[in-house]
C-alpha cells in the first residue's frame, strides 16, 4: 500500500519567512479584532515571496497567528490562488468558463499546450511556465481571458498569445 505524502513531509528548514515579511504580517494582524484575520493577507505575502506556500512557512505562520499548521493548511488548500507546490516563473491561467468558452478559449489552450509542450496542470522542464485552467475571472466582456501571474490579458487570439509570450523573458 502506498502512502500519500503529507504536505508537511518536505524539508521544513528550506524556507524561512524573512523578518521584513514577518513584521508586515504582525502589523496586519494587529489591525483586525482577531489576529487570525491576517491569514489571507499573510498567505498572499508568503506566496509573493516564494511563489508558493511551502510547508515550513505554514508552520511559521501558524505560530505567528497563534493557530495550528493544520488550520493554516486547511485555508491554503481551500483557496485556488494558493499554490501548494512550486509553479513556473510565469503561471498562465486560462479561463474555461462559459463566455470564454463561447469565444474560443479552447483554441487558446490548444495553442498554449502545443507551443509550450505541456498540458494544463503541468510546468515546463525549464520551470518557466505553468499552465492552468481556471473558472470565470470576472472579465467575460473581453473574453477569452488569461492571467499570467497577476496580470490580465484579454481579447486573446493565438497571434496575441504569441506576442505576449515573446515579451516574457
Amino acid at each position: 500500500m502506498s502512502t500519500t505524502p503529507t504536505p508537511f513531509a518536505a524539508n521544513a528548514t528550506d524556507y524561512k519567512i524573512p523578518d521584513k515579511v514577518m513584521s508586515k504580517i504582525n502589523e496586519i494582524a494587529s489591525q483586525y479584532p482577531e489576529k487570525n484575520s491576517a491569514m489571507l493577507p499573510a498567505l498572499h505575502l508568503i506566496q509573493d515571496e516564494f511563489g508558493w506556500i511551502p510547508p515550513s512557512a505554514v508552520r511559521q505562520l501558524a505560530d505567528a497567528l497563534d493557530t495550528t499548521p493544520n488550520k493554516v493548511y486547511a485555508v491554503v488548500s481551500f483557496y485556488t490562488m494558493f499554490n501548494q507546490a512550486p509553479v513556473g516563473k510565469y503561471h498562465i491561467q486560462v479561463c474555461r468558463n462559459v463566455s470564454c468558452s463561447l469565444l474560443g478559449s479552447k483554441h487558446i489552450v490548444d495553442h498554449l499546450t502545443s507551443k509550450l509542450g505541456i498540458q494544463p496542470g503541468q510546468t515546463t522542464e525549464n520551470k518557466k511556465f505553468t499552465l492552468s485552467l481556471v473558472e470565470c475571472l470576472g472579465a467575460c466582456g473581453t473574453a477569452p481571458v488569461m492571467m499570467i501571474n497577476d496580470t490580465y490579458y484579454e481579447n486573446l487570439t493565438s497571434g496575441k498569445v504569441d506576442e505576449i509570450l515573446n515579451t516574457l523573458a
Binding site: 487570525n36 489571507l40 493577507p41 497567528l65 486547511a74 483557496y79 485556488t80 463561447l102 470576472g138 467575460c140
Partner: protein, 429 residues
Amino acid sequence: MNILLNYERNGDSHTLKSYLKRDGYKSLSQLKKYQPAEVLEEVKRSGIRGRGGAGFPAGLKWSFLPKHTEKPIYLICNGDEGEPGTFKDRVILEENPHMLIEGIIFSSYAINAAHAYIYIRGEYGFAVRRVQAAVKEAYDAGYLGKPVKGTKYTCDITVHQGAGAYVVGDETGLMNSIEGKKGQTRNKPPFPAIEGLYGCPTIINNVETLASVPYIIENGGANYAKLGTEKSTGTKLLSISGHVRKPGVYEVVMGYPFMKFLNEYCGGVLGGRKLKAVIPGGSSTPVLRPEDCENMTLDYESISAAGSSLGSGAIMIIAEGTCMVKTLKVLTHFYHHESCGQCTPCREGTGWLNKIVGRIEAGQGTMDDLDLLTSITKHIAMHTICPLGDAACGPVDSFVKKFRDEFVAHIELKKCPYNSTFTRLQERV
C-alpha cells in the same frame, strides 16, 4: 442614465480629484442634518434591492439589526464577484472607488457600524490596489478615520483581498474568509444581522448596492424610486458577454426592454447570427429561449415572469450553432469544482451532475440519464446549508427542459451533432 458610471472613461475617474469634480463627497457635508435612522429611511424609501444576486431590499435588511447591542456592528462590502458572467463590480472598484467609499460612509452611519470591510476577489489585484489607493486618499482628506463634519461618527474601512473561491461570495462564507478560515458557509439562523463577523451584528451588501447610496441620499429615496419599475427601482449595471457584438458593462434604468438593449446598446448577436439562448442573470439563473425574451424587460419581476432571474445582471448571449450540452458541461464542471464540500447533497450531487452531463456530451448517455439529472437536482436543491447547491440546479433543470431535443440528439446519435469544439473565435465586428 448614468448614476454609477457618471464619468468619462478617460483614465483618471478613480482619483479623488475626479470624484470631487463630479460633486463627489458633497452630500457628506450634509450628513450632520440626518439622524442615522433618517438615512436608513431614505434607503428604504428608495426601494433599492441588493445587486449581488438575491435582490433583497437593502433598507429592510438593515432594519433587521438589533436595536440595542453592546457589540460592535460591522458593514461588509461584497466585492467577491465570482458568479460567472459577472464583471460589473470590477468597473466600480477600478473606475469609481470613491463613490463606493462615500456610499459605505453613509451606510455605516445609517447602521452605526464601527468598521467597514471591503472584500475583493483575489484575482482582482488591480482593483484591490485601486481601492486601497482611494481609501488612502479618503483618509488623507479626512473623510475616513475622523469624525464626519458636524457629527461624532467616524468611519474606518479595511480592504481585504480574497484568494479564489466562488462560495466565499456567499455572505456567511465571506465572513469566515475575513476571519481567516476556510470559506465554508454557515447555517442560518443566526442571520448575519444578529451574529455575523466575529460573532457581531453584521450587514453585508454588494458593491453596486452600496455605491448607489450617495445618489439616493443626495436626491432623496423617493426620487430614486421614481426610476425604474415599481418593484425594481433605480438603475442596474448589466455585464453582457458571450456571442454579442459589443460586450461590456452598461447602466440602464430598470424596466428597459431586453431585445432593444441587446440590439441597440450591444449591437446584437455576434456575426449577425440568430439568438439561441440567453442566461440573463449570471450562471446560476435558468437559461431562456429567444421566445421567452421577446417581451421581457430588464427588471426583477419581468425576468422572473419569463422563468429566470435578474440575479447579478450578468447576461450571457448564446448564438445559433452552439452546443447547449457542452455549454451546460462547462457549468456543471464549475459548480462541482466550487462546492465547498461540507454538505453531502451538493458535494456528491454536483459531481454526479457533471459526470452525467459529460457522458451525454461524449455520446455515451442514455435516456434514463435525463431523468436521473432531474432526480439529482431534486435531492440537492433546498437540502444544503447555502444556495450554491440550488445555484447548480437552476442551469441543469432549465437546460434539460428548454433544450431537451439537443440532449436527446446526443443520446440517439451517440455523438455531438455540432462541431465538437466551440465555434472558433470570430473577430468582433
